[in-house]
């Protein structure tokens, strides 16, 4: 639906006017598309905005472990160019797994900060630099002021900033409801994997909730986890109708 709205000329001029007011009219915002039509269509601009702060948290128990959220972010970072800065307070990232979603260990520089304050300071420094592909930081508390600073730093340099919200206790995870200045906010929850005809674990699936998107609407997606190049995909059963149809039409018109 958003895709159709994008085409209306009146709305386009209004959008341009608003972005002029917001003060970044001089250059067109760059996007990092997911490559999944259903997700990209829901995001204003057709992808994850570069030069912006995004928030990701795990759902359920993953709010504490951030395994799915971490992999989701690694998948996004893998699709950028340049080095990736990954800021943590307690290090438990298993580097071979990031390699498996396409984020090479040669590209990833880790910063082990002592406190959340240090994390935010390093995060801002990394965003300000502008030469990094993505800056990922695992942080528990993110205040409005802090997130606005980060958002401004990202805007000026054009870097992609991803805050993985990760808490020590399940009760603290309610903090995710507090408003921040981030452009999008995601929640990644694990779903049972694709059943296989033989014993074994199939391709992992996630429930991807777009909880907040500036100038966009919320949405839920059921996706298959990142592949070797960091790309998500829709499960075949769900993608069936639309995708097959589109392919058929293309073939017919060729």
């Amino acid at each position: 639906m958003t895709a159709e709205l994008n085409k209306k000329p009146g709305l386009e001029t209004l959008r341009a006017a608003i972005s002029r007011l917001e003060g970044h009219s001089d250059r067109r915002r760059k996007m990092l598309p997911f490559g999944v039509r259903e997700i990209d269509a829901r995001l204003p601009g057709g992808g994850l905005a570069l030069g912006a702060l995004h928030e990701v948290a795990g759902g359920g128990n993953d709010a504490l472990h951030s395994a799915a959220a971490g992999q989701f972010c690694a998948g996004i970072a893998a699709r950028t160019r340049g080095k990736v800065l990954w800021i943590v307070t307690r290090q438990d990232v298993f580097a071979p797994s990031l390699k498996q979603v396409g984020l090479s260990a040669r590209r990833t520089i880790y910063v082990e900060a002592r406190s959340d304050v240090d994390v935010l300071a390093c995060f801002e420094e990394g965003l300000r630099h502008g030469g990094l592909g993505a800056v990922v930081a695992e942080v528990a508390r993110l205040s409005m002021t802090a997130s606005r600073r980060l958002q401004l730093a990202a805007e000026t340099s054009g870097s992609l900033g991803i805050a993985i919200r990760r808490w020590r206790r399940q009760t603290d995870a309610a903090d995710f409801g507090q408003p921040t200045a981030s452009v999008t906010r995601w929640r990644v929850s694990v779903l049972p994997s694709v059943p296989l005809p033989v014993p074994g674990v199939g391709r992992p699936r996630w429930l991807l909730e777009l909880i907040r998107a500036r100038a966009g609407e919320c949405a839920d997606f059921e996706v298959e986890a990142c592949d070797g190049k960091g790309r998500l995909s829709l499960p075949a059963a769900l993608a069936d109708g639309s995708d097959q149809e589109a392919a058929g039409q293309r073939r017919a018109s060729a």
């Binding site: 993953d62 395994a67 340049g82 990232v93 390699k99 390093c122 049972p192 994997s193």
Partner: protein, 463 residues
């Protein structure tokens, strides 16, 4: 003069007459004291410490070093790890060393020599109680005064500190009160640091002492170009830069910044130094600023290759330096593969700008996003010998296993450790009914007792 550990065990002490010692132990090895050699050795060691730990290091003759570690400890992971590291390094070089952090030079000197623990940290403000029980010899007083105090029946610092000053000064001169005050931190004591051989160095004296942060920043901005000019003449770039600020009360404050690669860029060095201004305490004012390139390396002018195919990747070394000076070099790293089947040994930390390694981890088995620092024991029920568990209990929650992959058998590395000769682990990737995926292993192969305890552990969490 001095005895080694073996001799100390036999009951010999410094001060035992040689004739007596030889009479007791005829095969005793005697060596002439070599104060000049000792002094040279200590100076070398001081330079090495200056290289490794902190910019202000001086020789505390005859047998010690004194370091001003203010603002340097966090780069080594805190005070205790720093001291441990120092003592271990000295042990590695064959010396038995003691290390103490205290508020003052005098207190650290006393506790290092007369305290019991090889490593001690005196909490700020706890100097008086830490010193009270130590003998007066610890106060760096001449032996005549020590003997004099002994005739008065004063043997402990606590006793001495409680005595009235005037009679003491009348009898022994001003030294006793001065050393006491230095140890308790009532008067300052300047540490005159050793200097590396022939460094590039620029300095500036001020007619009026300066103190404001902006003023300091302005003069840093004037000193750095001069230093870079000096470096340029030698074709060097700086790897470590010390800024010493001499205060009017003859204390020295220091800022140290380090870079990952040789740098001669005025703007970048100025920025690194200015970020640290807030860590210094100008007191009543600073009258002299000295900027020393304490570690400089040859810097080649490189031709930039303009490539038609690949876009040049942005240079992040300046960011690395900024972050390293904030969180410490050890806290900034990349992971590099290590050839090992055991997950916790399959990676190592390398410096962020280390040359890129060519090997990589094998990719045929899925690996968890998060690896627990220590595998956590879980209760599990599984069919022997090689079936995945049917259920397991982790952190009090019982999880029924819906599907699983495995086993992936990993053997102990007997070439590293004899005890690992028979060890085996069976790794399983399991998914519970709610869809959460975990990495479990059994310590053992499920058949032979010598391969492990056969207990189950949770080692990682999949996304």
């Amino acid at each position: 003069m001095s005895v080694d550990l073996a001799a100390r065990k036999l009951g010999l002490r410094p001060g035992t007459p040689v004739a007596k010692a030889q009479a007791l132990y005829p095969d005793l090895v005697l060596m002439d004291a070599d104060p000049d050699g000792d002094r040279l050795g200590l100076e070398k060691l001081a330079l090495w410490f200056q290289h490794r730990i902190a910019p202000i290091v001086a020789v505390d003759a005859p047998d010690g070093l004194v370091l001003d570690t203010t603002g340097a400890d966090h780069l080594h992971g805190g005070e205790l790890p720093m001291l441990k590291d120092m003592v271990h390094r000295m042990a590695g070089a064959g010396f038995r060393a003691k290390a103490v952090v205290a508020d003052t030079w005098g207190a650290a000197h006393a506790i290092a020599r007369y305290g019991r623990a090889p490593i001690a940290i005196v909490p700020s403000g706890g100097t008086a109680s830490a010193l009270a029980d130590l003998p007066v010899e610890a106060l760096r007083l001449p032996s005549t005064i020590i003997e004099g105090l002994a005739t008065l029946g004063v043997s402990r610092i606590g006793q001495l500190a409680a005595m009235p000053r005037a009679p003491l000064a009348l009898r022994f001169g001003p030294d006793v009160a001065r050393r006491l005050d230095q140890a308790f931190g009532r008067i300052g004591e300047a540490i005159v640091p050793v200097r590396p051989v022939d460094p590039v160095e620029v300095s500036r004296n001020f007619a009026e002492p300066i103190g404001a942060a902006e003023t300091i920043a302005r003069y840093i901005g004037k000193l750095v170009p001069l230093l870079c000019q000096g470096l340029d003449e030698r074709g060097q770039g700086v790897r470590r830069l010390d800024l010493l600020l001499h205060r009017v009360d003859s204390r020295t404050e220091a800022i140290r910044v380090a870079t990952a690669m040789p740098v001669r860029d005025v703007k970048r060095l100025t920025r690194l130094l200015c970020e640290k201004i807030e860590t210094i305490n100008p007191g009543f004012g600073i009258e002299r600023m000295v900027l020393i390139a304490s570690l400089a390396e040859l810097m080649d002018r490189r031709q930039t290759v303009s490539s038609l195919i690949a876009e040049e990747e942005a240079d992040v070394s300046d960011l690395i330096d900024t972050l390293a000076n904030r969180v410490g070099t050890q806290a900034l790293y990349r992971f590099a593969p290590v050839e090992s089947d055991l997950p916790e040994r399959s990676f190592c930390r390398v410096p962020a700008l280390a040359p890129e390694e060519t090997k990589d981890w094998p990719e045929h088995w899925p690996r968890p996003t998060r690896l627990l620092a220590r595998p956590e024991p879980v209760q599990a029920m599984a069919e022997l010998p090689d079936q995945p568990p049917l259920f397991f209990i982790w952190r009090g929650v019982r999880r029924k296993v819906k599907c699983a992959d495995g086993p992936e058998r990993v053997f102990g590395e007997w070439w590293k450790n004899d005890a690992e000769l028979t060890i085996a682990r069976d790794y399983f990737r399991v998914e519970d009914t709610s869809g959460e995926r975990f990495w479990l292993y059994r310590a053992g192969d499920g058949e032979h007792g010598e391969t492990g305890s056969q207990g189950w552990f949770l080692h990682g969490i999949f996304g």
